[in-house]
């Protein structure tokens, strides 16, 4: 600054710049805060309406009782069976979607020619563009009758009396989670980079060895994020489970019997919101918020766990 007098700012100019800088920064900060605050606001409003339920009815019955009779006098709001339903449907969907999803991603990124991949990836991603109500319609009119008729072909030839059940919802949710899993894992595998693969080949590794021992470990945190996103997709989906799961508030007997109808948290909120009484603030209204809060907390914990695993993985890979 020395020597060039016009560069020296007067006190007024200094103040002006300071204020402008402060304004700019606070504006950016405000914009960024909106995103964070909206999440907090949602959490706050859901918690505010869930609170009266826990206050009046307690926590134990909600989480541990399976008696779900919201329209009975007096009503009972045991949501244990509904939690089990959500868990069962989500885990089955993920179990069905992850192996083919990750294999398809590997196939696209490392095995198929680039030109084929360029066509295939958008096609798989198209699956994500189909509205969920269309999936639900498919589940109800095509998959359900198919499941009912296919019981006799299965070993043991037992009868599937209702095609609208946990398996139906899981299969459809699995298909819906597939594009997320394929696309995100494929991106992660691509990001592992050409240098890594060429280095491996240069050391004399075969293509299979490179894939299994070098590329996959390098991309594992990305693949894990893909699986996590798939879980979120399956757990949060509403329309399909409302149409395809049967909505029976029971824990299947035995619990892994996927051929029985189940009820999920999301479907319960969607199905019961219509006439759950807001004006009188009935327990039936607040219990739906309690379920929404539970869903929110579960996905928050999932996210947190995912974040933790991914950072740990990255550290390990860097040799840290």
């Amino acid at each position: 600054m020395k020597g060039s007098e016009h560069l020296i700012l007067s006190a007024a100019e200094k103040l002006q710049r300071k204020i402008l800088g402060l304004l700019g920064r606070s504006l950016l900060f405000a914009v960024t805060s909106v995103a964070a605050l909206s999440v907090l606001a949602i959490l706050f409003f859901i918690a505010r309406d869930a609170w009266p339920f826990f206050r009046d009815k307690g926590v134990a019955a909600f989480f541990f009782s399976t008696a779900w009779y919201p329209a009975h006098q007096p009503p009972e709001f045991g949501a244990a069976a509904i939690f089990v339903g959500s868990l069962l449907v989500t885990l089955t969907a993920v179990a069905l979607a992850v192996p083919p999803g990750v294999l398809a991603a590997i196939c696209m990124s490392d095995i198929l020619p680039f030109s084929v991949r360029q066509v295939l990836k958008p096609v798989v991603e198209m699956l994500a563009a189909i509205p969920s109500v269309v999936y639900g319609f498919f589940a109800l009119t095509v998959l359900a009758p198919f499941l009912q008729d296919s019981g006799k072909w299965l070993p043991g030839g037992f009868e599937i009396s209702s095609g609208v059940n946990a398996l139906n919802a899981s299969v459809i949710l699995g298909v819906m989670a597939l594009p997320t899993i394929v696309s995100v894992s494929e991106d992660a595998l691509q990001a592992a980079g050409r240098e890594l693969r060429e280095g491996s080949y240069a050391l004399g590794a075969t293509r299979a060895e490179t894939l299994v021992k070098v590329v996959l470990p390098a991309a594992v945190s990305g693949v894990f994020s893909a699986v996590l996103l798939g879980i979120m997709r399956a757990m949060g989906e509403t329309m399909v489970v409302w149409m395809a799961s049967g909505n029976a508030a029971q824990i299947p007997k035995p619990w892994y019997n996927l051929l029985q109808p189940v009820r999920t948290l999301t479907a319960t909120i969607a199905g019961d919101m219509g006439e759950a009484d807001q004006m009188t603030g009935s327990a039936h209204y607040h219990v739906l918020f309690a379920m929404g809060l539970s869903l929110l907390v579960i996905s928050f914990l999932c996210n947190l766990a995912g974040e933790w695993i991914v950072t740990r993985q990255r550290k390990r890979l860097r040799g840290g």
Partner: protein, 273 residues
């Protein structure tokens, strides 16, 4: 939509002093289609009249009448004692007008051999003491119980008319969100049993005889079909004979009104002889 129509009504109301030309209805989704068809027909014949129909459920209809936010409350059931009491405490005099009758046929898959059931048997099936069709004279097949969702007026009516206050529906019962979905599920499922509004029952499902009586217009009117109900419109006090509300409700007793009600699938109130 609703708000704008009300505003339009208010503006029109100022222009034509004293002329009563707006009517607000709220309530049952079952009665809603009747009210909407009536409104359409009435407004076509009387231009300048604004009638708005909201469908927020019977319970909310009663509440709207209590709070004075509607002129007529549509209910697919009678007022509950608590609702009546709340209105009387507020100085309102709810008057019931029966506009039509509805029945809830119990429906099964067309291939089902069972022709009819008693109310007790249906209660047994829905509460889980009867689990196989062979127990009620059918083939050896598990019964799949399908119900409307617990928020619908149809569910409440069925529960009250068939199951009684203390019965709990078996927890393996499936729930579906509309009359159409119920019919669709029963068409596809061999062991299914469910119930739906009279207007939703066609040849693709089989309506059972209850206590030996088939659900038909005659059996609903002579009250031999046990699962039937009246559909109401409630006003605050008896409306004056020349008022819009009286004329609107009176439609249900005209030939045109009966035709509309039959078309929607309900049973009209017969002419007095």
């Amino acid at each position: 939509m609703r708000v704008s129509l009300i505003v339009a009504g208010l503006v029109a109301g100022c222009a034509v002093a004293q002329a009563q030309n707006k009517l607000v209805l709220d309530g049952s989704t079952t009665v809603g289609p009747i009210a909407k068809a009536f409104a359409e027909s009435y407004m076509r014949q009387n231009p300048g009249v604004n009638i708005t129909v909201s469908e927020s459920g019977s319970g909310n209809g009663a509440k709207a009448l209590l709070n004075g936010t509607c002129d007529i409350a549509n209910l697919s059931r009678d007022l509950k004692d608590t609702e009546k009491k709340a209105m009387e405490e507020k100085g309102l005099k709810p008057v019931a007008h029966v506009v039509a009758y509805d029945a809830l046929p119990v429906i099964v898959h067309p291939s089902n051999k069972v022709k009819g059931l008693t109310i007790e048997q249906i209660r047994g099936i829905f509460t889980g003491t009867i689990k196989n069709w062979k127990e009620v004279g059918g083939v050896d097949q598990a019964i799949v119980v399908i119900s409307r969702d617990t928020n619908s007026g149809t569910f409440e009516s069925f529960k009250e008319l068939v199951l009684g206050k203390d019965a709990k529906i078996i927890d393996s019962a499936e729930y579906t969100g509309s009359n159409g979905a119920v019919r669709q599920r029963v068409q596809m499922t061999k062991g299914a049993i469910s119930y739906a509004g009279l207007g939703f029952v066609d040849k693709t499902v089989k309506a059972l005889e209850i206590n030996g009586v088939a659900p038909r217009a005659e059996t609903v009117l002579n009250k031999t079909y046990p699962i039937s109900r009246s559909l109401f419109m409630f006003t605050n006090g008896e409306p004056a004979a020349d008022s819009l509300a009286a004329k609107f409700i009176g439609l249900s007793l005209t030939d045109k009104g009966r035709e509309i009600i039959e078309e929607i699938g309900f049973v009209p109130v017969p002419a007095k002889k």
